[in-house]
C-alpha cells in the first residue's frame, strides 16, 4: 500500500480510466479502438489500483473466480454470435440492414455513427469482456500468489 496521496489520486483516476476503456470498446467500429485495446486499458486501471492499494485490499472485492466467469460469458457470446449467421456462412454479418446496429455509413470519408456495423459492435463488446476480465485475472493472480512481501510504507 502506497501513501495517501497516491491512493487518493488513483481513486479518482480509475473512473476516467474505466470511461476511456468502455469508450474504446463501444466505438471500436467507427473510430480507433476496439475490444482488445479497451480491455487492455481497463486491465491497466486494475493494475494501477493494485499498485496503489496492495493486493490484500483489492482481492476482497474483485474475486478471480468472478472474473473468470465474466471471461467465459464473453467467449460464449462471441461463439454464439459467430454461429448465429450460420444460415449463410460462419461469421456472416446477419444484422446488416436490420434495425439493430444495421446502419451502413455513406461511402468515403465522413462522420461515422454508432448505430452501424452489424455484428461488429456486439463482437467488440464480447471481446472486450474477455480481455478485460482475463487480463485483470492474470494481473490479480500474479500479484496475489507470486509471493514476496507487500511494500509497506
Amino acid at each position: 500500500m502506497l501513501s495517501r496521496i497516491v491512493r487518493t489520486v488513483s481513486n479518482q483516476l480509475i473512473v476516467f480510466v474505466l470511461i476511456f476503456g468502455l469508450y474504446l470498446i463501444m466505438h471500436g467500429h467507427d473510430s480507433p479502438g476496439g475490444g482488445f485495446q479497451g480491455g487492455a486499458v481497463v486491465a491497466s486501471g486494475v493494475a494501477m489500483l493494485l499498485v496503489a492499494f496492495g493486493s490484500g485490499e483489492i482481492i476482497q472485492w474483485l474475486h478471480v473466480r468472478r472474473l473468470t466467469v465474466v471471461a467465459c460469458i464473453g467467449a460464449l457470446v462471441f461463439i454464439a454470435i459467430a454461429f448465429a449467421g450460420t444460415g449463410t456462412t460462419f461469421f456472416y454479418n446477419f444484422l446488416l440492414g436490420t434495425p439493430i446496429f444495421g446502419g451502413v455509413p455513406p461511402p468515403g470519408p465522413g462522420h461515422g455513427h454508432v448505430w452501424s456495423g452489424g455484428i461488429i459492435p456486439l463482437m467488440e463488446i464480447a471481446i472486450g469482456f474477455i480481455v478485460m476480465a482475463g487480463l485483470s485475472a492474470v494481473v490479480l493472480a500474479m500479484a496475489r500468489f507470486s509471493g514476496g512481501k507487500e511494500i509497506e510504507e
Binding site: P32, G34, P105, G108, P109, G110, H111, G112, V131, M142
Partner: protein
C-alpha cells in the same frame, strides 16, 4: 513522405530479430530469455507494420479521414493479433518461470534443467 533509401524499417526489424536471437541463445537467466522472446515479438510487429506502410498513407479509418491514400489494413489486423498473442504467451512464460524458481530455487537455465535427459 519522400523515398526512404535502404529499407530502413526492415533493417531495424531484422537487427531486433538478431539481438533477440542472441539473447535467447546465449543468456542463462530465464527472465532475460523471456525478455528476448518479447523483443522478438516486437520485432515481428515492427516488420508487419512497415510491410503494410504506403508512402504518404493515412490510417485506414473513414471517420473524418484526411486526404490521401490509406495504408494497408490487413497487416495492421495481423499486428493486433500478434500483440494479443504476445501478451498471452508472455504471461504464461513468466508464470512458468515463477514455477521453476519455486521448484528448484534458481532461475539459471543451466542449473535448473529438471528434465535434462
Amino acid at each position: 513522405m519522400e523515398h526512404i533509401p535502404l529499407n530502413f524499417p526492415f533493417l531495424a526489424a531484422m537487427l531486433l530479430v538478431g539481438i533477440s536471437l542472441y539473447i535467447i541463445v546465449f543468456k542463462r537467466n530465464l527472465i532475460k530469455l523471456v525478455m528476448g522472446v518479447a523483443i522478438l515479438s516486437s520485432a515481428i510487429n515492427l516488420f508487419l507494420v512497415s510491410l503494410g506502410y504506403r508512402a504518404g498513407g493515412v490510417a485506414p479509418i473513414y471517420t473524418d479521414a484526411p486526404e490521401g491514400s490509406m495504408v494497408l489494413p490487413v497487416p495492421q489486423a495481423l499486428t493486433l493479433t500478434n500483440i494479443v498473442i504476445g501478451v498471452a504467451v508472455l504471461a504464461l512464460m513468466l508464470t512458468l518461470v515463477i514455477h521453476i524458481y519455486r521448484n528448484t530455487g534458481d532461475i539459471d537455465s543451466h542449473k535448473s534443467r529438471i528434465l535434462k535427459g
